[in-house]
């Protein structure tokens, strides 16, 4: 395989990994607060369709992203009210959100199936994009890819170096103790869930505005679920999420790699690869029970009722 092909594959891996990076960054913040939102796929689809509709209507991809962020946030609020205020089971509520989002996105998007729009164009960053290999792989993308780089580093700083990050971790590790020292647990969790919704919205918009600039029913193809696995893979650590997203990106474009090597395998079998890779990765990561228990936010998935004592 020549070096040009390797660069092309890695460039495509970053592009393919970007929606996963956005949505997994949102979900890891949500999970750090102790809330497991399985509605990622539904929020992402709603972000994709609303982002596309807004961009299609206004002609501005930027407004499309903004609309997708707002939609993702609204979707996450449905989840937040049910889970945080009404004490509903997080797994069931998340599933409902995904089923609802899948249906609603297909419903409101049915009029624009097959339409295309002018999405974001690549912007080569001066100087940086001239670096051999790295420049073409990392610095000749569109604005959203650069946003995802920035988001990763901002979140690393906020979560690991600031008071906000400490508060978030405290709520996720022990909500009762956090409550006792005066942290408003529900407020923190609301904000974390909403942040997850906004990021899922951007992730969906990336799919419908950049990755394939059009709307197709179910176009996210399970990426919301893969992102949930990615968070486990990264052991809830932000830097590792970025690495994991690009690894999953490579798995998703494996067919290019194999074609490059001259193999011919049915595209339908190759389409399984990201899902098979997800299963394998989860098996490897989770096999160490002790480690996973140590790393996962301790209150993850558990209902917190401020009226009850620990």
């Amino acid at each position: 395989m020549d070096s040009d092909l390797i660069v092309q594959i890695l460039f495509a891996a970053v592009k393919t990994g970007t929606p996963l990076l956005f949505i997994a960054l949102g979900e890891v913040i949500c999970e750090k607060s102790g809330i497991l939102n399985l509605g990622q796929e539904g929020m992402m689809l709603m972000g994709a369709v609303v982002g596309f509709l807004a961009a299609y209507g206004t002609g501005s991809a930027g407004l499309g992203v903004l609309a997708a962020m707002i939609m993702g946030c609204i979707m996450s609020l449905i989840f937040a009210v049910l889970v945080l205020h009404l004490g509903a089971n997080q797994v069931a509520t998340g599933l409902a959100l995904t089923i609802f989002g899948t249906g609603l996105s297909a419903f409101i998007g049915s009029g624009v199936v097959g339409q295309t729009i002018q999405g974001f164009q690549p912007i080569a960053i001066p100087l940086l994009s001239d670096i051999p290999f790295i420049g073409r792989i990392l610095f000749s993308h569109d604005i959203l890819v650069y946003t995802s780089f920035a988001m990763t580093f901002i979140l690393m700083f906020v979560v690991y170096k600031t008071r906000i990050g400490l508060t978030l971790t405290a709520v996720g590790e022990n909500p009762h103790a956090a409550n006792a020292i005066g942290i408003k647990v529900l407020r923190v969790r609301y904000l974390a869930v909403m942040f997850g919704g906004v990021m899922a919205g951007i992730s969906g918009a990336y799919m419908s505005l950049v990755y394939t600039p059009m709307w197709v029913e179910n176009m996210t193809a399970g990426r919301g679920w893969i992102a949930l696995a990615l968070v486990v893979f990264a052991s809830w650590r932000i830097g590792r999420i970025m690495l994991g997203a690009y690894l999953f990106g490579v798995a998703s474009i494996m067919h290019l790699v194999l074609q490059g090597l001259g193999w011919s395998i049915s595209p339908n079998l190759l389409a399984m690869l990201p899902y098979v890779a997800t299963v394998i990765v989860m098996v490897i990561i989770s096999a160490d029970k002790f480690k996973e228990k140590l790393l996962a936010p301790r209150s993850l998935g558990k209902t917190f009722d401020p009226r009850q004592m620990a």
Partner: protein, 355 residues
């Protein structure tokens, strides 16, 4: 002042009333939605809920859709009771359809009496296998059951699509991604003349009663209930969580596999890429709506089948996208979860403002 008060005991009335209330609220939501998009809400509700039950043909079709929904939901009810978050009914159904179809095509034009039972068995075993892999990965490697079962839904879907494009494609099918039509010996008999209600629908109802019997009358059912409500207590009592997980997951896989093979050997009569319009996912809602009770699942499956029928009719008669069905399912589960809040809480009225 109205405020929320925790009940001292869960309300058994609300447990029954909550699904009915959720259905009513979903209908109200539907009316508002249809008005908003400029369709007549009364006409839409008529098409969605009344028309599917208006004549004997439609009622028959409704039961044909109820079959796979109920088979999947019965298995899921037991899983969820035992705190096993199996989201994989869709993949298990597709695996059953694939395995069963391969067997049916293997029998070809054979008139053997064994053709149908062996075909059904192949479907059941395929469904069990598709449930067994995530179960093994969970028990042996501690992997997350929700995510692995979801991934196996996608893997199963692409495996099925690959099969109808490749090894199972009808050689005389002009290249369409479909298998050959199955021979009569491998088709499920219909139960009534002039309707497509087939033996698979009867299997579904029987499975619900079997599951009800297991759950309420057997030692295994007792273990499931104890595990679901208090896992430490179950372990203290010496119940094996592993054995229980295997039994419940394989049972659910078998039923979903049976649902899949019953679709291909029943109403469809061949293997096609879109065997299931998301029955395995809808069955999650059916299980919840039926209060995770196998007999409750029968009623819930009937309601969901009506909604599926109604969705088809609404598309044909009013031009409403069929995706409206899955949206209503999501809304229904939202309302159900919200109403369930009042099983353990109630609204209290007092004249004075309370702190």
């Amino acid at each position: 002042m109205i405020h929320i008060q925790a009940r001292t005991e869960p309300s058994s009335l609300m447990k029954i009333a909550s699904p009915l209330l959720a259905i009513a609220l979903t209908l109200v939501f539907g009316c508002v939605l249809f008005s908003a998009i400029g369709k007549s809400p009364t006409q839409a509700l008529h098409v969605l809920l009344i028309a599917p039950l208006a004549d004997s043909y439609n009622i028959g079709e409704m039961f044909v859709k109820m079959g796979p929904l109920l088979l999947c939901a019965v298995g899921l009810s037991l899983c969820y009771r035992a705190n096993l978050w199996n989201i994989g009914a869709e993949g298990q159904l597709l695996a059953g359809a694939l395995g069963g179809s391969a067997m049916a095509l293997y029998f070809g034009d054979s008139n053997s009496l064994f053709a149908l039972p062996v075909t059904l068995l192949a479907g059941i075993v395929s469904g069990m296998l598709w449930a067994a892999i995530p179960t093994y990965l969970k028990l042996r490697f501690n992997s997350n059951l929700i995510l692995t079962t979801i991934m196996f839904n996608y893997i199963g879907l692409y495996l099925l699509i690959w099969a109808v494009h490749g090894p199972l494609r009808d050689p005389q099918g002009f290249g369409f991604p479909e298998s050959a039509m199955f021979a009569d010996a491998t088709l499920l008999p219909t139960l009534f003349e002039s309707s497509r209600i087939h033996l698979g629908v009867a299997f579904a109802v029987i499975s619900a009663f079997i599951a009800w019997f297991i759950l309420s009358k057997s030692h295994l059912g007792f273990q499931i209930r104890v595990f679901g409500s208090d896992e430490p207590a179950a372990k203290y009592a010496g119940f094996s969580g592993k054995k229980l997980s295997w039994m419940v997951m394989l049972f659910a896989g078998a039923l979903a596999g049976l649902a899949g093979v019953s679709e291909t050997t029943g109403p469809i009569g061949q293997l096609v890429p879109n065997v299931s319009p998301g029955y395995g996912y809808s069955a999650i809602i059916v299980a919840y709506l039926g209060r995770l009770h196998p007999l409750g699942a029968i009623l819930a499956a009937v309601f969901m089948a009506v909604l599926y029928m109604g969705g088809d009719l609404a598309q044909i008669e009013m031009g409403i996208p069929v995706a409206v069905v899955s949206m209503f399912q999501g809304v229904l589960l939202f309302f159900l979860l919200a109403c369930d809040f009042f099983i353990n809480n109630r609204l209290a009225f007092s004249n004075q403002a309370t702190n």
